[in-house]
Symmetry: C2
Subunit: 410 residues, 2 copies
């Protein structure tokens, strides 16, 4: 592996203090799946009655663990206890029938060790693609894991699921609904938006709210579209992306689809974790929001925003602190969504750069170049066509990205 890369300059100062979630306990172990000298397997146990919701990669080559989770979400016996088991170092993706067998071996062993139905065991694997998962190294540790479960080991869990991440990612909050406390805590891993052989984005969120599974699933799916589905590091999509949300009900507070406070709190945790993944983007030195308004529809706004956020030429200009608005015009033009050259306005931060199809007469490039030196940037585009809006988040494309992905031999 060589030397560990330095911590991203965009990382938060430290791992946050997360609320303890009733009904959830964690354990981590050094199983030696691939990495030496660090914990690489995380187990979470969830009390009986926990509702589980999930969103997964749409990749046609998704991993055995993803397929297994998809089959179980919404179908299991929610009265039983549940578990999540995650290993880093090996993605168990593109490993043929052996991959399916390895996933089954792990989930079956977890079910036995924790005495719960196999249909309630959700697993993820992240790391190198195409190598057989040494599942016996994981199953050999399950009894030890089961014995060491503890309510306050979530930071340990956030570290155990890291691959190329330069920092552990966590986010949480405590809100009050009708005077009663409800807690949310989540962890994530991800660095290349998707670096498949180092794969990729995994997110686990826990709450002690009591929520019916179909309600939780529809909340999570909707919020995912405005959070994790609005970030991009390099436009590459993983074989392993998994978001699982577990609601244990331990607080006794019932949450329904009309609980705006809860929805907003869950959204904030999801968005914070999504932003942390971008902040750990491979080689990233800038955290960039792209805000599009005035599109023909929300969907077309999103297409424009992602076209800007994924353009190598826009991203290299950001790395070079170059207010190169011509490249933004280019990215709008190529997106395939509707645009009228003569009604486009573009801002860097509060600086109006272009309007009505040309550079603004008051535009001062020196001022824009000064703005581009900030670590956090906002690019705004108004298309002047309709009411469609979207916001996405990305990072710049630097020599660091090339070094991590080209100079390094996996």
């Amino acid at each position: 592996m060589g030397d560990a890369p330095p911590i991203s300059p965009l990382a938060p100062k430290s791992f946050p203090t997360l609320p303890v979630i009733g009904g959830v306990s964690f354990a981590c172990v050094e199983a030696g799946v691939r990495y030496a000298g660090r914990k690489d397997v995380m187990l979470a146990r969830l009390d009986p009655g926990t509702a589980m919701a999930g969103v997964f990669t749409k990749s046609a080559t998704r991993s055995a663990a993803v397929l297994d989770c998809q089959a179980k979400i919404g179908a299991g016996n929610s009265d039983a206890a549940a578990a999540i088991i995650v290993n880093s170092g090996n993605a168990n993706a593109f490993t043929g029938k052996n991959g399916t067998q390895a996933t089954y071996a792990v989930t079956k062993a977890v079910a036995r060790a924790l005495d719960l139905p196999e249909s309630r065991v959700f697993s993820s694997s992240t790391g190198v693609i195409g190598e057989p998962l040494p599942h016996d190294r994981i199953t050999a540790k399950l009894d030890a894991l089961a014995r060491s479960l503890s309510a306050d080991a979530i930071e340990d869990a956030a570290n155990a699921i890291r691959t190329t991440d330069t920092f552990a990612k966590g986010s949480g909050t405590i809100l009050k609904i009708s005077g009663q406390e409800v807690r949310i805590a989540g962890i994530a891993k991800g660095s290349g938006m998707i670096a498949p052989d180092m794969a990729t984005m995994l997110v686990y969120i826990f709450t002690d709210a009591r929520i019916e599974q179909p309600v939780l699933q529809s909340m999570v799916s909707a919020l995912n579209r405005k959070t994790f589905n609005c970030i991009t590091v390099d436009s590459d999509t993983s074989t392993s992306d998994t978001l699982l949300v577990a609601a244990t009900g331990a607080s006794g507070v019932e949450v329904t689809e009309t609980s705006i406070l809860f929805l907003e709190a869950l959204r904030n945790v999801m968005l914070d974790l999504a932003h942390q993944v971008v902040r750990d983007g491979e080689g990233a030195t800038k955290f960039v929001e792209v805000a599009v308004t005035g599109a023909a529809s929300d969907n077309e706004a999103r297409i424009h925003a992602l076209s800007i956020a994924n353009s190598p030429l826009v991203k290299t200009a950001l790395a070079g602190e170059d207010p190169n608005w011509g490249r933004i015009v280019m990215a709008i033009g190529k997106s395939g969504a509707r645009a009228d050259r003569d009604t486009i306005s573009i801002w860097f931060g509060d600086i109006l750069v272009a309007r009505e199809g040309w550079v603004d007469p008051d535009y001062d490039e020196d001022q824009a170049a000064e703005y581009m030196k900030n670590q956090e940037l906002v690019i705004s585009v108004d298309l002047g066509l309709g009411g469609g809006t979207a916001r996405v988040w990305t990072c710049d494309l630097t020599h660091g990205y090339i070094s991590i992905n080209a100079d390094y031999r996996s």
Copy 2:
């Protein structure tokens, strides 16, 4: 501009000797549009009776010159003489109404200088975006240009249209149809598949065949889909892409849609120019063919091939000479076209890497790593689903690309 970048390691050894095309003459001049000390305007005059066909960028923010060409193709009076005028250094894109006026000023002045209808003057501009085109610098040189037209100045023309290109691009051939010679010669510019502020791909091809305009147009559109539309350097699309093909008829040889020999010769010239654009890809050190077979349709094969060819993770692995087939699996998975993980086969050159959803038991990674050291690479994928095929060409993604686009301040 700083120092000129070194010539691409993938460049042909020298500019080819191109056949002289009857009915076409060229002139170039140093107009000082942006660059100092080099010719930056090219004029081509085409005899009366020349059929003109064209294919243009689909960008919604395309330049005034592109819009003007699109309006004229197929609509003009083909009995009159025609002209093509191209400047480098300024793309006249996203320049509002001034841009339209600048294009009109140039094409009108060419029509007057050469005594031909303005509807028969086709123009292109390539270079920086968003700055007003100093069109009077071009129009001031038109009488000098008109006086210096010469049949054998095509290499000069190929040089005058360069922006960040590290070498001039030309290709030509002489074929015999029923014992009579027909000639084809073309020039191109392009380096980033599209570097919009340095823009971008321009191609001009000339033949002395006699072809009806609608026949030529349908030939060019069809061949474009298999040549220029099958290359990608960085997935970014220009505001200025223009392909013009002029058939003067000077050979007296009539060519129809059934002239397989001519179609093949024109295709070879177009493909050669397309490959030269990839070989001059910004920072490129590898020339890569991606060949997909066994897809559900030709269109889905193309989607898979472009997903592989555009993936930053695949392209950085190529730069690192890393036989990272897991990233190819990832790119197939994310493409959106149909794929079955368990029927995919992958080759590097002749080396079978993966089949039936896993690495081939005889795969030798050292042998594959040795193959990846070649300057020209072929990645083949068979999806095992149907009869759809596609071939696309790309280059690797290197520190050189970042340096050209980020370190350099436009």
